[in-house]
């Protein structure tokens, strides 16, 4: 419990991850699924970025006038997460486009109704 409190950002991102995961898996609505996916991705970004965070550190911008003794934060996780965000954005866009298509085809974005409309002939045993 103590560990959970001291590493509160880790715990927070884990809780967020759980929330996103459950939304992604268990929700019936396609849009909510996409929202869950985004929550999940965001929690991972948070988790990653906190790994580069140093208490009292400053932004890693190098300038000749500043003293070298000061702590910089690790810029690598942030840079990586920028890439991650781009990936997440494109995935989201793709998923939304797909949702539009499904809505056009079936007239609903509830997954169970989609399956109902398709009939049961093609579902796996």
């Amino acid at each position: 419990m103590d560990n959970l409190m001291t590493n509160y950002y880790d715990s927070a991102s884990m809780i967020l991850f759980g929330v996103g995961f459950m939304t992604l898996l268990l929700n019936n609505n396609l849009i909510k699924k996409i929202i869950g996916m985004n929550i999940m991705d965001t929690s991972i970004f948070l988790f990653f970025i906190t790994k580069g965070y140093i208490e009292g550190g400053r932004a890693p911008i190098y300038a000749a006038t500043q003293s070298q003794s000061q702590n910089f934060m690790n810029p690598l996780p942030s840079a990586l997460m920028l890439t991650g965000i781009v990936v997440a954005v494109s995935t989201t866009a793709f998923a939304l486009a797909l949702t539009i298509r499904i809505h056009d085809a079936y007239g609903t974005i509830e997954l169970d109704k989609v399956i109902e409309k398709r009939g049961l002939q093609n579902e796996q045993p």
Partner: protein, 138 residues
């Protein structure tokens, strides 16, 4: 979107938005900003224009133009970037041309061209995404 005020305001604000975007793209290697940010701003202008003048924008910026500009920009970007990557590997030296001079647009080697390409790509992509969601087709 048929309001006269909107149409008139749109005429000159769009120009300003484009200018702003261009500025950010062109100075991307010197100050905060760059191809992505500038491209987003330009695409915002494009979408704004499209909202007010749907027919005209559809005529001018059709699917063909969008695809061609995206693909062309990516090709140029790719060629330049591959040159850089291969150049860096084969010579075993970090790129010297990356040194930039404040306020001089023609510094930092080919970074300017890369930024422009990214700007085109991002502007066109966001515009086409918006169009897709608005109209269902390019």
């Amino acid at each position: 979107m048929k309001s006269l005020i909107l149409k008139e305001v749109n005429r000159f604000t769009v120009i300003i938005i484009y200018m702003f975007g261009l500025y950010i793209i062109l100075h991307g290697h010197l100050s905060p900003g760059g191809g992505f940010a500038g491209g987003t701003i330009i695409s915002a202008g494009l979408v704004f224009y499209k909202l007010v003048y749907p027919e005209r924008s559809k005529r001018i910026i059709n699917k063909d133009v969008l695809m061609k500009s995206i693909c062309g920009a990516i090709t140029v970007y790719g060629l330049l970037k591959s040159y850089h990557i291969l150049h860096g590997i084969l010579n075993h030296t970090a790129e010297k041309s990356l040194s930039q001079v404040p306020f001089a647009i023609y510094s930092a080697g080919s970074l300017l061209v890369l930024n422009c390409c990214v700007g085109v790509i991002v502007a066109c992509t966001f515009y086409s995404v918006a169009t897709l969601f608005l109209e269902g087709d390019l």
